[in-house]
Amino acid sequence: MDGVAPASAGGNLVANIMHFARVLRAAGLPDGPGKVLQAVEAVRAVGLESRADFYWALHAVLVNRRDQRLIFDQAFHVFWRNPKLLERMMALLLPELQVPGQEGAEMSRRLAEALRTGQGEAERPREEKVELDAAMTFSGRELLQMTDFEKMSNAEMDAAREAVKRLALALAERPTRRFAADPRGARIDMRATLRAQLRASGLIALKRKDRATRPPPLVVLCDISGSMSRYTRIFLHFLHAVINDRDRVHAFLFGTRLTNITRQLRTRDVDEALDKVATAVEDWSGGTRIGQCLAEFNRRWSRRVLGQGAVVLFISDGLDRDAGAGLAQEIERLHKSCSRLIWLNPLLRYEGFAPKSLGMKAILPHVDEFRPVHNLESLAAVVAALAENGPRRLSAAAAWPEMRKAG
């Protein structure tokens, strides 16, 4: 091929491509040594006459997802003008990048507990901050603040694992289009039958198969506004347990903006995962803009996570800063895009509570299942609330005559 660089220049180029891939790797792109070889091969193939071709050749190999394009673009333009500059910048950043939150200053509660075992110390009283005044209001400001979760205790971890095991979640297994061997299946498995027939002779014994089943994908949308803040910790523990227990689960948090925390929660260790979540989310305990957040979910995520008959678990008290503006259309769109929409509302601690807020009135007609919960102090309560056979949509509304009169 005519475009191949001369051997001497080639050596330099290979080294530079390798450095470039390392820069991208440090920036979070999954570009390993195999990719470097592919990239060199690709650059050899297109030649070095045009910068654009060089760019797109590297792009075709080193970029894997649409959201990586921006990083690649920036890195490319900085690196291939002056490789040294970017490397020096990366070198400055690296010490920070390598040790996120491992200062050891804050000892994990579980570790501390493990060190103490045998001393017969009683469980310390819970130190969770509960601000009664703030909890029932919904602030109009967008509070951008960090939050710090109390570490999970060993007893809590055990309880969480137990609870999630019992989680039926109204997520009855769905038949898939795949078949699995089943002696009482409805269909005959010809392949297995014939293979068995070769071994035996005489009458052909029929082997059977039936549709395999698997749980549907689960998408959780959880409200973290000020009015919900007392449950956030419990829900995050719940989400962490569910995400690490089964595949095809996606979790989103919303207050005034929407954050996808699925990747952060995949971290095996629950405290580490919650730390990551705390850094990723910017609107802890602020106001609520349900309509806007749902609109963003519908536009950016729904087609990517709601395929294959997903069940949506919507956790919110329905108190909305925008007083339900635009909420009805968005929740309707959400309802139409998923196979089942379950609303878990923790506001009903108080007897005689009625859904008077505009947000709740907008949501209620569009949910398949409505699960009010009176007591959400533990994860077991969340699981119990989801497992019991909640009222269906119509009867959920019927439970509230006031609302029907009003609406």
Binding site: P30, L194, I204
Partner: protein
């Protein structure tokens, strides 16, 4: 008219142009790499941006056979790779029982190639007179992870193993084009083996070029307006489903079929269903919003001239 593989990016671009496909140089680069380094091409993008078309054009211009595997949930080996012809096998067994053949001979016979039904993946590995075929694996995101994992094996070695027959390996790897609408993320392990390209919506100039090729019957003025209007819709970005190139072409066809020479608010309202496929979106654009956008489009086009 089988053609040789392109020998440069410009060549690949010319090949696509001959196949009436208006492509960016960036897409041509990815295609050229995939063809010359014999690795699959992974195309991702919104619906209606011309992903499938790439494979069709390649097959046509290179004079290769196009083998299409449409993915769906639960796609399994029996419908993607091979299946034994059971009824014929049963008859064969019964016939053999009356004869004197030994069991081993029967087994060898009924699991031979004449009882094998070849599905797309196996077909793609077979040698072809015109050269290795173009294998289009369409909408891979619709299948489940197990099939993806299986595909990984096929695409890295271009071989499948059939327990009763042995391993079948392609003498020359087929040209593989994989498309995805991103209704789910495809695993990195599979993407790693491919050249990745995200097909974006085209800019106005390219969209107009596409329209000239694909809807030559539409008046020039109308085409310009259609493209500008669609570009406006995409730029606003508040629609649930943005119109793709396929919709633009359909819309131009529909309008010229109705003898519309230039866009009017009425014409837009009557034909909006061709462009937008969600009732919410249609309700949002219909009426005053369409009128407003059209006025903007006309002003901009007048200013450009």
């Amino acid at each position: 008219m089988p053609a040789a593989l392109p020998t440069s990016v410009a060549d690949a671009l010319a090949l696509l142009a001959k196949g009436r496909y208006v492509a960016d140089r960036s897409l041509a680069t990815a295609i050229y790499l995939s063809l010359s380094l014999k690795r699959p091409l992974f195309l991702e993008g919104e619906a209606g941006t011309g992903k499938t078309e790439v494979a069709k054009v390649l097959a046509e211009r290179l004079g290769r056979k196009l083998i299409r595997l449409q993915c769906y949930e639960g796609l399994d080996v029996a419908s993607a790779v091979y299946e034994w012809n059971y009824p014929r096998q049963m008859i064969e067994i019964r016939l053999a029982e009356t004869g004197q053949e030994s069991k081993e001979t029967v087994e060898e016979e009924i699991f031979s190639e004449q009882f094998l039904i070849k599905r797309p993946l196996l077909q793609a590995l077979e040698p072809d007179l015109a050269g290795p075929p173009v294998l289009l694996i369409d909408e891979l995101d619709r299948t489940d992870e197990p099939f993806e994992a299986f595909l990984l094996e096929v695409l890295s070695d271009y071989q499948v193993s059939i327990p009763e027959l042995g391993t079948i390996k392609a003498a020359e790897p087929p040209v593989v084009v994989i498309t995805s609408n991103r209704t789910r993320e495809i695993h990195d392990a599979l993407k790693r083996r491919c050249f990745y390209y995200w097909i974006d919506y085209p800019d106005a100039t390219r969209e107009l070029d596409i329209l000239k090729l694909k809807a030559p019957g539409a008046p020039a003025e109308l085409s310009r307006q259609v493209v500008a209007f669609v570009q406006k819709l995409r730029a606003a970005g508040d629609l649930f489903k943005l119109p793709g190139i396929a919709e633009t072409i359909d819309w131009a066809h529909a309008l010229s079929q109705l003898d519309v020479l230039a866009l009017t608010p009425e014409a837009i309202n009557d034909t909006l269903g061709v462009l937008l496929k969600y009732q919410d979106d249609i309700a949002k654009i219909q009426g005053s919003e369409a009128e407003r956008l059209l006025a903007q489009v006309k002003a901009e086009l007048a200013a450009a001239q």
